[in-house]
Symmetry: C2
Subunit: 322 residues, 2 copies
């Protein structure tokens, strides 16, 4: 009999529970809003119910579940399983998540921050299969990262390794969510790209230059321009949008080159925005990396979009325990 596992994906806006077999094949799934404002006790109760419901959906008994994997926003301690006040989960202060789940379900629980869990999922099931040194970087609301070496998540001294989004490139640059300036995340996350786009459009309008497709896409509302409009407009050849893509690729390439010199990865997998953008963004990133990184590590590395797409959240939690 194959073993089955439960995966729990805890986000600030939604909770998801899945049941999977040992190959990562998903047999059942339940999603509910986190209602983060109701605090951790509410979310925990909801999660307990969701886990049971998912097991039923998968036509299994609770006894068929051998382990639970949890992917959750950090910071958290993977050894003790305690979650320390993730920014998107108000009230989750020193919450002993692992202990609570273990005493409820009587199976071993592994908790991991979502970027690390995603990196492991890409290694197990996605673009990182077969590579010894995998660097995964999200490119969405923030820029997170996870490092998988010889099949194991690299945690560092206190589970804080892989904070690739907070590499500082421009110490006098734009303010980052972390309170510092000019982090890669403050330049290349989705909101950061949108901010740069809106500023560039305002500047162009002030100079009374021709308008941009980006504005057409938002019915003229500058404040509605998002990273997806930048990409869409760039695909139509819009000059300003292409400039923004090129600037984004420059900062990403610079940051990745520095990481390539230190980690010498076999592969760098880029998520979300990079998946949506494809080679429009990846090609100039690759060019910048080969210009800025040392010859040998640059020759060794492949830079590719992450592969798991929408399945990532589910598989991230599952990858921890299969």
């Amino acid at each position: 009999m194959k073993k089955h596992v439960v995966g729990i994906d805890i986000g600030g806006t939604k909770l998801a529970t899945v049941v999977s077999d040992s190959t990562g094949h998903i047999l059942g799934k339940v999603r509910k809003p986190t209602l983060a404002e109701k605090g951790p006790e509410y979310a925990l109760g909801l999660l307990f119910d969701m886990v049971r419901e998912t097991v039923r959906l998968a036509d299994l008994e609770q006894a068929a579940i051998s382990a639970i994997g949890v992917s959750c926003g950090g910071p958290l301690d993977t050894k003790t399983g305690i979650v320390y006040s993730p920014p998107n989960l108000p009230g989750w202060d020193a919450l002993p998540l692992k202990t609570k789940l273990e005493s409820e379900f009587q199976v071993p629980v592994t908790i991991e921050n979502d970027a690390n869990a995603s990196a492991l999922a890409e290694y197990r099931f996605g673009g990182g299969r077969g590579y010894n040194a995998v660097l995964y970087m999200t490119m969405s609301t923030g820029i997170g990262g996870g490092i998988v070496l010889d099949g194991q998540i690299y945690h560092g001294a206190n589970d804080s390794a892989g904070e690739v989004g907070h590499q500082i490139l421009l110490p006098d640059g734009p303010l980052c969510g972390c309170g510092k300036r000019g982090c890669l995340e403050a330049l290349c996350s989705g909101p950061a790209i949108a901010r740069r786009a809106q500023a560039a459009i305002r500047k162009q309008l002030t100079n009374k230059k021709a308008s941009t497709t980006m504005l057409t896409l938002t019915d003229g509302r500058i404040e509605d321009v998002k990273s997806e409009h930048v990409l869409e407009a760039a695909r139509t050849g819009d000059a300003l949008a292409l400039e923004l893509v090129s600037e984004t690729a420059y900062y990403m390439g610079w940051g990745i080159a520095n990481l390539v010199n230190v980690l010498n990865p076999d592969i760098v997998l880029l998520g979300t925005i990079a998946i949506a953008a494809g080679d429009l963004l990846l090609d100039p990133i690759r060019e910048t990396v080969s210009k800025f990184a040392m010859t040998r590590p640059a020759a060794a590395v492949e830079i590719k979009p992450a592969q798991l797409g929408d399945a990532l959240g589910d598989l991230a939690a599952v990858a921890l325990v299969v």
Copy 2:
């Protein structure tokens, strides 16, 4: 009976061979000039003789030697033991160093680039003892680096990991030996500090400001000012020298903060110039790191001078095989 090993330290200007017992206690040592211009065959012949001489000096038979460790400038391939044209060893092009030594001495040979070997030596015998994630950074002619995780050198995809000196901070900054601009090495190596000092002194003289102790130390010769004069003058309170130390600490701290965010090391050990400078340089580096790195990894890391000093080269080679 304890096992004994040979350590070989290959530099561009000198060769050293040592014999050590299994605890890293050095029993004999021979040093000779590399005479790099004579090419690899000359150096190899010399090394063969030096190894035999060192074993005799240690009052041992050749049969008492169980392994040979070699610390050498990279790039090199640790698996095949082939050295690929290190900049300081002209003619060492695809030289099968491991094979040559193994067929001469009939014992297993481990070769490693000098920065990685030094990192391992600090882990085994120096400031890195007892730490799981150790980052060692040289600060001398260049800025090299080595990463030791759970007691093993981290090599990456093709033995190029740990190139911390080529992290680019200022893409329009000073030219680096690697051909790129604004690498940490181009800002904070010994020659880079000297270059910045000389430029600052020239600028001060142009502005007809008061002179600096740095010039007193070199009998007025600007072109002779080196990093050691900057440190010596800073210790006497010389304003310009203090400014140069502060600038050096800013760049080092910025670069180390980025590394701390990614690697989350338990300890960062800084060599050579940092050892000579002590807290004069280390304190402002620590301040910059705690300002620029994320709170959790910054809280976990200690930043200290490397401990092995002059013994480093010998122990680097030995650490590979004991």
